[in-house]
Amino acid sequence: FMQRGLDSQTKKQLEEEEKKIISEEHWYLDVPDLKEKESCIIEERSFLRCEDLVYGRMSFKGFNPEVEKLMIQMNSKCKEEEIEEDDKMEADVSDEEMARRYETLVGTIGKKFLRKRDQRALKDDDEDVDDEVEEGNSNTRPSKRAKKMFLKPQD
């Protein structure tokens, strides 16, 4: 029922009339608003949160290996905060070796996704120089780039 082109004044008048009608019919409490008390007490009907009970499925002496794995998992979830364990697990590969591997890995996988032109550039470098591929690339790429830059057509 909102009509376009109504002046703001006429709109206000309409609203006021509506409010008047409503307030006469509406029932409202004459009581001041109760202050919302922020309660510090939570009611809880389960014993689980009060007493820190362990998980209900258990298996002993290897009767059911899956349940035994579960036991360790569930009980450690509850007690994570209390137990301070070493986060560092025994690594099969040392950190330095990992860094070295990763360095070369990036190069080899990177080659796979180069475009054809860049791959040709790589091949030329490999034939010329025996150095690491990355260094070769960095030397020739700027020159290649300089050649391939957009040449503005002269009007």
Partner: protein, 256 residues
């Protein structure tokens, strides 16, 4: 009813309380303006909120006791008070893991008997990896370990066999064989307490598997029928045996 003056909750920890007792909490939890002033001056108020556990109800000035038992208190994590009472009849509570027996298979929903006033309902989609085409193989009379999702006095309780992340984490149909029996709820809580002596001593005897439901039902499975029955008898008798009697009984068994 005459309003009684309450007693401080701290003084009654570990003692018997009766329904109708009013417990006053320390000034930290007072909601009046005076309480606020006290809170500021009393130094560190406990962080977090107080947990008012089973057997207690919040009422105006403090906590009202609704069941008879021993009052317990846990100071960690904001503090918690609850009443440790003995019961045989289970009342479904949201979040509890229970063992249910399938009684009716009605279309898409199973009805389980959990020992409460009403049978609980379990939808066939509430299992891990269940879809409309891939239905779980549940028959009438099967045992199911699940948790309550809805459990209040106005509605029929509902159970599921997956947790909030969609994994079953040990819930679902309990396998073949084994023995199901009923104990009181107090013993269940004793058995599920961290570092329970009974469980530790039993685990030294034979390899066996145990599922404990909060509704008072325990399912045991061991290699032979005789071993299973021995474990069942020990668990049932544990309620009324003292620690020495239990150790004697177990020593006799492990000697045999």
């Amino acid at each position: 009813m005459a309003a009684e003056r309450g007693t401080a909750a701290d003084s009654l920890v570990g003692q018997v309380v009766l329904p109708g007792d009013l417990l006053l909490l320390p000034a930290h939890y007072d909601e009046d303006a005076e309480g606020e002033r006290l809170r500021l001056s009393a130094g560190a108020a406990p962080q977090g909120r107080l947990l008012c556990g089973p057997g207690l109800r919040r009422s105006g000035a403090g906590l009202l006791v609704t069941t008879c038992g021993l009052l317990r208190h846990r100071p960690g994590g904001g503090g918690a008070y609850w009443v440790d009472s003995q019961q045989k009849r289970y009342v479904p509570v949201k979040g509890d893991h229970v063992i249910g027996i399938v009684t009716v298979k009605a279309g898409d929903v199973f009805r389980l008997d959990v020992g409460g006033s009403e049978p609980a309902s379990l939808s066939y989609l509430a299992f891990e990896g269940a879809t409309k085409r891939n239905r779980p193989n549940v028959q009438v009379g099967d045992l199911i370990y699940g948790q309550f999702v809805v459990a209040n006095k106005d509605m029929e309780p509902e159970m599921v066999c997956i947790d909030s992340s969609g994994k079953s984490s040990g819930m679902g149909i309990i396998g073949q064989d084994g023995f199901l029996f009923k104990v009181s709820l107090g013993l269940i809580r004793k058995l599920l307490a961290p570092k329970c002596e009974i469980i530790q001593e039993l685990s030294q005897l034979y390899p066996f598997e145990l599922v404990i439901g909060m509704n008072g039902r325990i399912w045991v499975k061991a290699k032979t029928v005789q071993q299973t029955l021995i474990i069942v008898n020990i668990l049932e008798a544990c309620e009324y045996m003292t620690a020495e009697q239990r150790k004697q009984a177990l020593a006799k068994l492990s000697g045999n």
